[in-house]
Every structure is written in C-alpha cells, then in structure tokens.
Symmetry: C2
Subunit: 337 residues, 2 copies
DNA sequence: GCCGACAATGTAACCGGTTTCAGGTAACCG
DNA sequence: CGGTTACCTGAAACCGGTTACATTGTCGGC
C-alpha cells in the first residue's frame, strides 16, 4: 500500500507538496504536479481516508438514520428504495458517502445518545434522517448536538437542521377537490397516525379543503389509521358501519388504501360506484391493483435529491439557517374514483 | 472533544493503559479499569474511529455495493428493503457498520477499480454485493483484489468471497410440480435474463422438473424476459400467440408475473381457469393483486442475515474458504393456480 | 534471601495524512 | 543594485489512537 511518503520519496519532493497536489493543486507548479500525478497513478497511490479524516476532522461521510422500528417488525418506508437511489446519487456527486447508522438494534447502552455517539466517533459531517414516524429522542439529540441534519417527513429545525416534506396539506386538498368534482358530498378520511407529521398535515389539508368546498364533516368520518394495510382495512370497516356511510374516502396512505379497498370489496361494495377512494403516496401497487388506485403522488426522488442539496448547502454554504423544502404533489387519477 | 491523552492525564495513568481498557480490558487491573471507565463516562470520552482505523487498519465498516444501474433508471431490487433491514441489524450486532458505496454515478474516472479504490481508501473490512443483474467488472475487481466479499444472487467465489442465493432451481421445481399436480401438461416459462444467475438457474430447475415429470417442452415455450413488468407482459403476449398455447406458465419473477397476468386478462383469458401462473419472489403485490399470485417465496431476511454471518465468519474466522449459502424456497399457493 | 515468573503499567514509535511557518528563488521596480 | 513581492517548496508539529518493548513490583519456590 503506497503511502504519501513513499510517493514523495520517489518523486523527489516533500510530503507537503504531494499533499498539496491532492488538496490545493493550484498552488503547486504545473510541472511538479503532473509528475506527481503520473507517478501516483503508476504506483497506485490513494490518499488514506482515515488519516485524512483524522487530520481534518471531516470525513466526507454522512450518516443515514433509518431506524427500523423494533416495536414494529414489519416497519417499511413506503418508498425507501427510490429515496435511497436518489440520495446516494446526489450525495456522491458531491463526493459524500452514506453510512448507515445502527439504531435500536445496536449493541451497547441506549441513553438516547446513540446517533450522536456514532456521529462523533466517525467524524460524520452530517446526517439524513428518514422518519421512523415518531419523534425519537435519539434523533432530537442529534439536532440538539448541532449536527447538520436533514430530516425527511419529520419536522425538525434549528440552526443546523432542516427538513424535506411533501406538500401534505396541499395534496390532501387535491384529493378532496377531485372527489368533490366527481360529485361527492359525504367524504370521510382515514388518517395516518396523528403524532406523525404527514399524518397530521394530511388531516389538516383534508379539513381545510372540505371547508373550502362548503362541506360538512360528519361525525365519525375521521378515523385514525396506522399507515399499514390491516389498519386501513379496520378503519374502513368502521366507516362502513356508520349510518351515514360516506360515498368517498380520502385515505392518507396507499398501503392503507389497499386495505380499505379490500374492506369495501369484502362488504360487497363496488369501487368506485358505491364508494370512491383516493390514496396518498403512489406506491407501486397503486397502479397494479385493479381498478387502479387514484392517489396523490409524492415526488420520491425529490426527497433524496433535496436532502442531499440541503445537506451540502449546510456543509459548504453560509451560516444562514437552511430553509425547509416542500415538494409539490400531483394527483394521479385511476380507477377508484 | 475529549481525547485519550486528556482522559489519561485526568485519571493519572498513561495513554497505553487507557487504550487497553477499551481493547484488552482483561489485562488491566479491576481497580484502574473501573476508575478510567467512570471518568470516561463522566467527561464523555469516545475513542476516535479514524485514529483507531489508522492505527489498526480495520475500520469495522463494510461496503455495500448496490449499483443502481445507470443503463436502467428504474432498476429496483425486488426486496431491497427487507435485505437491508436484516443486513444492518445482523451487522450491527457484530459491531459492523454499512457504508454505501457509490457506483457508476460517482465522480472521477471509472476504470473498473472504483469499488476497490473505495475499499482501500476507507480501509473497509469487506463488502456486500447486491447483484445488479450483471457481472460488473468493477465487482469482479473487488473479489480479485482479495477483499472479503459476499454477493447476493451473484455467483462469485474464491478464497475471500462467497455468495448467498435462494434455491432457484429447487424453487422452480416446486412451481412445476405444483402445476403438474393441478393437472397441467403444457407448461411454459418466462425466464429472467439468462445472463443473470437467478435467471439461468430457474430455467435449469424448470427444465429438470419438467423432464422429471415426463413432460415435453414445446417449441417457443421458453421466453426470455427481463424481470420487469412490461417485459413480462410482452413475453406473455408471445406465448399466447402460439398455436399450442400453454395452459400454465412459470414466470421467473413476480413483477413479470404481474405483467403476464395483465397480458392474459387483456387477451380475455380467465386466471386460473384458462391459464395458470406461478411467479417467483413473493413480493408485496403478489398477495394484493387479485386473485392473488401463487408464487415461490424467497427468504428475504435470510439474505441479509446470511450475508452478515458469512462476512463475519470470513473476518473473524479461520482461513478455510467460506461456503456459499443456499436458502430454501417455499411455495405459496394463491389464486392464480 | 535470591531468582524467575507474572501481573500491571509506562515509554515511545508508528499509522498516513494536513497545515503552519519559514526559506529560497526569480522577477520586478525604482 | 538593493528591496519587495510572488511563487513554489520543505521541515516539522500535529491529529488521536495502538502496540512492541521496557520497567517495576509482588509473590512463590527453593
């Protein structure tokens, strides 16, 4: 393994000069620079990342906090894969790597400082937080420790942190307006967990849009779900048991919407004739399941790229507190409406 | 930021002793050890990972090679999320972290050495390769460079590398036998890309099982697909255009199977009465799409845990070449058969 | 009472870079 | 021709750990 001293010796310069070739190339003369670069390529020299990190305290790595909730074994993010692809691509375009941080599953004590510890131990430059749905104290510790952070779908801010989210309220409004246009008057909703940011916001948007259309929200027409399929099914069952059963339901998550569709079908209802459904997320199944789930689509890669941009801005950029990014949503009309 | 010298000074011992407390605790006296640990907790001392890596050349990090194929923007692994969860959990139980390595998307030259470079630069202890479907030369460079590697669904082996795969041939055989039991005699298959390991093996298993059942494989009853939905659709169209149309199709991937179902339905065929379909993978949609896709299920978390085990065995274990892991598959019968 | 073994700790070199500061050379100016 | 100045390079301290080797002290055996 070639080291910098080896390379310096061979090319007859000092280690300082070699170091400069890789860090501030403009200060070393064209001639020596080229000679060193050629030789470096020849002997296969690569600057050692650990040494560099040790000296500079910058690792060019950001942590990925994605806590696979131990209380909920089947926990899945609706479109983790798309986010990850976009995030990784955008980060590596800036020379940043992504380190997956261990969550609850990690060995060692858990005093709520586990992410902070990991960040300090590895000299991470920042962190991306993919919401686990709850305000994990360990996550909050991260932003309190002034680690540059960008959270997805979790509302955190401060001098060194910001968040990316879809226009949840606006998306919900899109859904409602669409249903109203289709002639529905009795519109219910199955929400996400209301302690989560998207869960809460989509309900806010729903209510506002309903009011905007001059419609009343009937008793029992708001049922809190859990973003999972079975939860959606159960919630729909409750709606269908009502005396003034709604003719349309805005379901705040596609997975729940699929469950809701099943519940409706199990109750012998035809979709969309007897009951219309609009989901949120636009996950893969939405297009596949007959008759096709109308839904509010999120800009999935947008989460990843926006997160990368925001993080880079905080790392390289000035001191002005970063602005949250709100990604626009779009309505996708399929067969359920 | 407390350093080891600071901690040493405060507790009145040498840095060597402090270091030993964290690395070989048994050699330092109970009394001093406790005193140092207490003080460490008090001042919040954490060993610096970079310094440690620099000195020991072990980083306790493994690279994740997951090349999001730039030639195929929509490239998705059928169950990346499940693998990732299991992998991360299993690795962190051994104190290992996962670093996502940049692929084609990275800046800099691409001479096929990009992963090797990344590994050397960060002193990675090993790598997990999530197959991109092709034998990427950059991946092969990794195993040639004697980096401890474990590949998923990609057959690589050598003194420092091994792979994890499902029993693809066996799974295909399960599917065929199931169809035979249902009374089918004219069984066709839509394969994955035959240059991929799972694509090839599933075809092998298919052929063997057919022969084992004493059945002939008719001309044109093997159509190569691409693991994507549209490819499955197109392949099914070709099968349905045949004179001796099959009564059952083994589709070597669920995503393709969904496409195939659509093609069949578009052609006015009833499933499973006019044509039966068995998929492979057991992705989420399989259970959701009516009438429910019968399929060969893979042990998804198994990939992650097995990969972690294999890697740990190579890192800590002896020099005996690691054994590949073949995960059993199971048949899940739903409505398409 | 001396010696060897052993347990606990310290000293200092080393891992492979970065960076401050200073030195040398050549060009330029008055 | 002396003095700036700009440009390029080198010497050496430093980042925060690990570890080979040396040292000290205790104790048991003979």
């Amino acid at each position: 393994m070639a080291t910098i001293r080896e390379l310096a010796r061979r090319s007859g310069v000092s280690v300082a000069t070699v170091s400069r070739v890789f860090n501030t190339p403009e200060v070393v003369s064209q001639h020596t620079r080229q000679r060193i670069l050629d030789l470096a390529a020849e002997i296969g020299y690569l600057p050692n990342g650990s040494a560099r990190t040790l000296a500079t305290k910058k690792s060019n790595m950001v942590g990925l906090v994605w806590d696979t909730d131990h209380r909920r074994p089947g926990w899945r993010h609706p479109f983790l894969q798309e986010i990850l692809v976009a995030l990784k691509t955008a980060l590596s375009a800036h020379g940043l790597n992504l380190l997956m941080l261990a969550g609850h599953d990690a060995a060692g004590p858990d005093d709520g400082q586990r992410y902070v510890r990991a960040v300090r131990q590895h000299n991470l430059d920042g962190a991306v937080i993919i919401d686990n749905g709850t305000r994990d104290p360990a996550v909050l510790a991260l932003v309190e420790a002034q680690v540059p952070c960008v959270a997805l779908d979790l509302r955190v801010d401060g001098p060194t942190s910001t968040y990316i989210t879809s226009d949840n309220a606006g998306g919900a409004a899109l859904a409602v307006r669409h249903l109203v246009e289709r002639g529905h008057r009795r519109i219910a909703t199955i929400t996400g967990p209301l302690r989560t940011w998207p869960g809460a916001e989509r309900l806010v948007g729903f209510r506002a849009a309903l009011a905007g259309a001059g419609l009343q929200l009937a008793d029992g027409h708001v049922v809190e779900g859990d973003f999972y399929l079975d939860g959606g099914h159960a919630a729909m069952d409750r709606l269908l048991a009502l005396d003034d059963r709604p003719t349309a339901v805005f379901v705040a998550g596609d997975e729940m919407a699929v469950g809701a569709m099943r519940a409706a079908q199990a109750a012998g209802l035809r979709i969309p004739d007897d009951i219309a459904i609009v989901g949120f997320d636009d996950i893969e199944v939405a297009a596949l399941i007959p008759p096709g789930l109308s839904t509010v689509a999120q800009n999935k890669p947008g989460f990843g790229t926006a997160a990368a941009e925001a993080l880079v801005a905080m790392l390289h950029g000035g001191d002005d507190p970063p602005k949250p990014t709100v990604l626009p949503t779009t309505l996708v009309v399929r067969g359920t409406t």
